[in-house]
Symmetry: C2
Subunit: 262 residues, 2 copies
């Protein structure tokens, strides 16, 4: 069935997170991202594809989608380009239902490590943090303040598909602090003046369930979070730079806390 | 002295790295970046500024530049916007002479740690790696293959000014390999299948002078580099993701090798 003018308009608006559909739907484009979605069993509602742009690998992805019962919608190259946000579109765009973002519904007590991103407004940094979170065993990411929308095209892309493998909740700072206290989660805050996260500091954390909070590069975490933190940590580096990139610093701390299971 | 039409054209072309001037000049815009340039004593030839866009902090930066003998050129807002590559321009753009990029001229035997970026084509990743390199005591960065131009606006910006604090050489792979062997530098390659860089692996490296090579996310390092490497290392993470972001992985390895002096 060809795409209607209204449908095309509503889908392309998602690239810029415009219109009402942006509250319930999001896009992920490209072969690798859609392969990851399938791997995590996070299936799209519809896959739009422009045959003239599809490689054999895109073709076999489309076969898989069809087998999984996903509706495929053939469109023209120009229509696909309008949906695309990348320099080298690969002819396939998936339209996904936005998952639940309420903390109460997403949280499970077996999440031992939660990443809290406050005011991470750069989509590339947020996506990279989500990717590292999944890599280092954080099952839940929460965003607050001026953080980018976790389902914006550039965040989804920077996450390299990790967005399909974990849960992302949107919360207010005061609610998250209350949540941390109710669930007895230890709050670890990153701060330029914090203690260096070395082996000793890691051991002191032991196997406790934690929330790791990362703030914006310019301003760091808000005083509300810092004042409630059980520990304030940082990555040691030379004084030649004032700080590390926020996604790098956050990933390094998550990596320091990672222990392979089994 | 007002800016001539030709000068404006030639400066704005630098944003897209167009024209002959791009081989000898580059731009850095914004207060923070120019403050970092001053801190590292890497001074611009000219600073263009649009008074209507300048905050008090930009004003005091301009005062400093003037004291240091830098030529200031007042321009109109529209002219400055044409030179800008950011969403929120701050009214100041510096025009810099490109430094030497020949390895022979840049290398000094007291550089104990060199970062080698092969095919790091994403400007944000390259800039972030340069920032982490400076943070973790790497005095020299070399780029090869399809790596982005280290002095492109987005790389300069992502480096958060670190580009002014270290040296960047552009090399061919075979020359760099020859160089490593001549100078007896140990070549450490990052590879998804490498050994986990833990405390034991770090100790084995000891205090030797090293080159750390990072490849592209999609393809990793080229076989030429991998086959010549003294060690192949990786960061341990769960199997939920195939790999980490290249800048994150590289930064984490640099961070693992960092020891504060003194």
């Amino acid at each position: 069935m060809p795409i209607s003018r209204n449908e095309l308009k509503s889908v392309t608006a998602l690239v810029k997170r415009k219109g009402r559909a942006a509250d319930r739907l999001f896009l992920a484009e490209g072969i690798r991202l859609l392969e990851e979605a399938v791997r995590f069993d996070f299936l799209p509602q519809t896959v739009y594809y422009a045959p003239s742009m599809c490689s054999p690998r895109a073709g076999s992805l489309l076969d898989t989608m069809k087998e999984r019962g996903i509706s495929l919608c053939r469109i023209q190259k120009q229509q696909l380009l309008a949906m695309s946000d990348t320099k080298t579109p690969q002819g396939v765009v998936g339209l996904f239902k936005r998952p639940e973002t309420g903390l109460g519904k997403l949280y499970r007590p077996d999440y031992r490590k939660i990443l809290w991103c406050e005011n991470i407004s750069d989509p590339g940094n947020l996506g990279t943090l989500i990717r590292s979170a999944l890599a280092f065993g954080f099952g839940l990411v929460v965003t607050s303040g001026r953080s980018a929308d976790a389902y914006a095209p550039k965040v989804v892309r920077s996450s390299a598909g990790a967005i399909f493998g974990l849960r992302v909740a949107r919360v207010e700072t005061d609610k998250m602090l209350k949540f941390a206290s109710e669930k007895e989660l230890r709050l670890i805050a990153t701060e330029l003046g914090g203690e260096i996260l070395d082996e000793k500091a890691r051991c002191a954390l032991g196997d406790q369930a934690i929330i790791l909070a990362i703030g914006s590069e310019g301003d760091g975490l808000s005083p509300d979070i810092l004042s409630k933190a059980d520990r304030r940590v940082r990555i040691d580096h030379s004084d030649s730079v004032q700080s590390l990139n926020a996604a790098v610093a956050g990933s390094m701390i998550m990596g320091s806390l990672y222990r392979r299971e089994g």
